[in-house]
């Protein structure tokens, strides 16, 4: 077998992106949005804008896997519209290969940001956001998740790295006590909420580009 043929880490990102500039620019962290299964980049910017207000710059990434591989996605029937990040019916039980691919792609993207950012994920996107948070990529100052499930990948042991100073907001989710404890054990500040409120203020409390704030 050609073991060497496996590209271990993604060194560049081929994901579709949608960008919306905010009123505050670099004075706030960039919001990197990861949509739910069935979503897409363009519509996700609108959803995130409603949550975070007009202040932050938003960039939404689009998953590459069409929910309907038979059709061009924009014309797919509603049940199969949009894109998914990884295989598997249960967002809490990602299929490992497709999940690893997506995670590596998102990681490759955030590596090139060059300014403080938060991950904002919904459902499948929330699982990606929280798992990538465990890898503490440079520049990550927080994560906001909606409909998060505690992810399980059989046999996987995430790396342990301190998450001091990283703020995690878990919103509108079921039992996330396991992942919540895991994050707190690493030093992250975890806030579990039933519904979104005060996210603009939360974002303002996070570190941003120092030059921009001056």
């Amino acid at each position: 077998m050609a073991e060497s043929a496996i590209d271990d880490t993604g060194d560049s990102c081929s994901l579709v992106t949608a960008r919306v500039d905010g009123a505050c620019g670099a004075r706030l962290p960039l919001v990197v949005a990861l949509h739910a299964r069935g979503g897409d980049a363009a519509s996700e910017t609108e959803r995130v804008r409603l949550r975070f207000g007009a202040g932050p710059d938003i960039v939404a990434l689009g998953a590459a896997r069409p929910c309907n591989p038979m059709q061009s996605n924009l014309r797919s029937v509603a049940a199969y519209a949009g894109f998914s990040w990884y295989l598997g019916d249960d967002p809490a039980r990602p299929e490992a290969a497709s999940f690893g691919d997506a995670l590596a792609q998102v990681e490759a993207f955030v590596r090139g940001i060059g300014r403080p950012f938060v991950l904002a994920g919904d459902e499948q996107g929330a699982v990606l956001a929280i798992v990538l948070s465990l890898f503490t990529p440079d520049g990550l100052v927080g994560a906001h998740t909606v409909r998060l499930s505690s992810p399980t990948i059989d046999g996987w042991t995430p790396p342990f790295a301190r998450m001091d100073g990283i703020h995690i907001v878990i919103e509108d989710s079921g039992d996330t006590s396991r992942i919540g404890l895991e994050l707190e054990r690493r030093g992250a500040v975890v806030d579990v909420r039933d519904r979104h409120a005060g996210l603009e203020r939360w974002l303002e409390s996070l570190p941003a580009d120092e030059d921009a704030r001056d």
């Binding site: 050609a2 992106t17 591989p69 014309r75 691919d101 059989d154 790295a161």
Partner: protein, 597 residues
């Protein structure tokens, strides 16, 4: 989720990089596992040091996609005690991420409408396209070897029964796949006279009456397997078949992800439905006719059955073939299994050119046929001259057709899109991108004065568009070209300022060289390969002497495709896979018990 308590990053803050290899290993990809150097093969079932069997059944099925699942259900229904073994941790194989369409000639929906052609006429058509150099008009077997004809006849004769039986068993409910776009043509060249297409595609029907894709098909089949209490062993890679002293296959040895092994006795037979070898670079390099950069097959499709069958003395066939599809090069380089393929380049002014700036193919030809153009060898330049093709479109195309893969949707950008304000800028940008990709694809650059050649190509294409006739590649001449183009892949976005206009050929509109130009680099890929051991019309794997290897059966992409290199229509992969799985299951379940000695 358990965690590693050590902070081994050395910084106390910055974590490790994501490792795709780690996730691939967890997914069951053998090449990603440390020490995975032993090739699958054959073992003596009675070796002195051989451990006892961990499980004893009549029939072992390897693989959980359409072929494996269908085989397991029918072997069970035939009275066999069955176990299903799957290498990955996710049930369903490549079927689970497919469109889930199955091509079934003479299916009951066609019969009810009275539109299917006669048996011999349909088989002759299949023979003509599968074996174009040997096909002869006249009577069966139409110039084919008898066993080749028998395989095609078996597909025609048994496909309809197979889907009807699945429905009767409550295992899979089918419906015609002519919704929501109406009847669509097969990939046969039968549409030149503009007859109404015979749409032989079927797909699964969801409980609410709507159509299901591959995931729904897998869901129904898995439910049927569970109802029958067929044991399913996930995360078990079959690394060997076990043979007795007569050379009969009597079981399998499977390896778990933790490298421990189990042995399963299969007293009547072992049926492989384990997928092709798209994800095995060595086999691809050895057998495919040119550069293949990736494919949609799940990452565990590493061709294990090729090694096993060869070691068992099987006759291999069709190894240079695949269900082909163009893929976006930069996606292929970043994903272990390409998330999407380019079914048809969207847009009426989109063209594909090679690095010389020349069109090389009918852009609206079906993906399996179109992709083969990547394997053109230029003896003067000593290179695969079409290894990469550049999908060129203009600003109008970007706005009218954005959102049809791979053109990014309005309001979005894709890093794999290269752009320039004119042809000269585009040439520079493409060369820069190619230079960046050189560590992975080798040194490739556009021919000098690509921009000038492209302008000439565009001028000629625009003349064709104005006339409505593509003299070079016959784009849009076939019903397939026009219907798949306008009904599915190139319907325009509303709300742009661009008028569609009325061109004589709806698949062609002049490309505007004065507008901003875009390029996406396409490469050859597969849905999966379709070569491997040859089978009989009973699903038996054939040895090099043409006789069945007792106890060994196969179906799906792991075998030598009985339909050869040709893709008959949507579902041309799954329909035959399910049919030959049905035949293999019936044969294996009825086979005599084989002793271990």
């Amino acid at each position: 989720m358990s965690t590693d308590n050590r902070d081994d990053s050395g910084t106390g803050r910055a974590g490790r990089r994501v490792s795709r290899r780690e996730f691939l290993r967890l997914a069951g990809v053998a090449a990603a596992a440390a020490g995975a150097t032993t090739l699958p093969g054959v073992r003596d079932a009675r070796a002195e040091d051989a451990p006892k069997f961990d499980m004893e059944v009549d029939v072992v099925v390897v693989g959980s996609g359409a072929a494996g699942s269908v085989a397991a259900i029918f072997a069970h229904e035939a009275g066999a005690k069955v176990a299903l073994v799957e290498k990955a941790l996710l049930f369903g194989g490549t079927t689970s991420k497919s469109g889930g369409v199955y091509w079934i000639p003479n299916n009951r929906f066609l019969r009810e409408r009275g539109v299917e052609g006669p048996r011999e006429q349909t088989i002759a058509k299949m023979a003509r396209f599968s074996y174009p150099t040997r096909f002869r008009e006249g009577d069966a077997p139409f110039g084919l070897a008898q066993h080749e004809y028998d395989l095609l006849a078996a597909l025609y004769d048994n496909g309809p029964t197979m889907v009807d039986e699945l429905e009767r068993l409550g295992a899979l409910v089918s419906m015609p796949a002519d919704k929501p776009f109406g009847a669509m043509p097969d990939y046969f060249d039968e549409s030149v006279d503009d007859k109404e297409p015979i749409d032989r595609r079927m797909w699964s029907k969801k409980p609410d009456g709507s159509f299901g894709l591959g995931a729904e098909m897998v869901r129904q089949l898995k439910e049927a397997i569970d109802k029958r209490q067929i044991p399913v062993l996930m995360g078990h890679r079959v690394v060997a078949v076990l043979r007795n002293s007569h050379g009969e296959v009597v079981g399998v040895e499977a390896e778990k992800i933790d490298k421990s092994t189990i042995r399963i006795r299969a007293s009547r037979g072992v049926i492989f439905g384990s997928g092709g070898f798209t994800q095995n670079p060595d086999l691809v390099e050895q057998f495919q006719p040119g550069p293949v950069f990736g494919g949609c097959a799940v990452p565990t499709n590493e061709g294990d059955f090729v090694y096993i069958a060869a070691a068992a003395g099987a006759r291999l066939g069709n190894m240079s073939s695949a269900w082909r599809a163009q893929i976006v090069l930069e996606q292929a380089l970043q994903f272990s299994s390409t998330p999407d393929d380019v079914f048809m380049p969207p847009g009426d002014s989109t063209i594909l050119v090679n690095r010389l700036g020349r069109r090389v193919v009918n852009e609206t030809a079906n993906y399996n046929e179109r992709t083969r153009i990547h394997f053109a060898w230029d003896p003067s330049r000593h290179e695969w001259i079409n290894m990469l093709l550049f999908m060129i479109y203009d600003q109008r195309g970007a706005e009218l057709y954005g959102g049809r893969f791979p053109i990014p949707a309005p309001g979005t950008q894709a890093p794999y899109v290269v752009t320039g304000a004119n042809a000269n800028e585009l040439e520079v940008a493409i060369n820069q991108r190619l230079a960046k990709l050189a560590p992975k694809i080798g040194h490739v650059q556009l021919e000098e004065n690509f921009a000038g050649s492209l302008s000439t190509t565009v001028k000629r294409f625009n003349e064709f568009a104005a006339r409505g006739a593509d003299v070079d590649f016959h784009r849009g001449e076939k019903l397939y070209d026009r219907l798949w183009h306008s009904h599915v892949w190139s319907y325009p976005n509303p709300g742009t300022t661009h008028a569609l206009g009325k061109t004589p050929n709806p698949t062609m509109h002049p490309l505007d060289p004065a507008s901003r130009l875009y390029a996406i680099i396409l490469a050859s890929g597969t849905l999966d390969t379709n070569g491997g051991p040859m089978i009989s019309a009973l699903g038996e794997v054939l040895s090099t002497d043409g006789k069945p290897i007792p106890g060994l059966y196969g179906a799906g992409n792991c075998i030598s495709s009985p339909t050869g290199h040709y893709y008959y229509g949507g579902g041309g992969t799954l329909g035959p896979a399910m049919t030959y799985a049905y035949l293999a299951a019936k044969s294996a379940a009825a086979a005599p018990v084989k002793e271990l000695d």
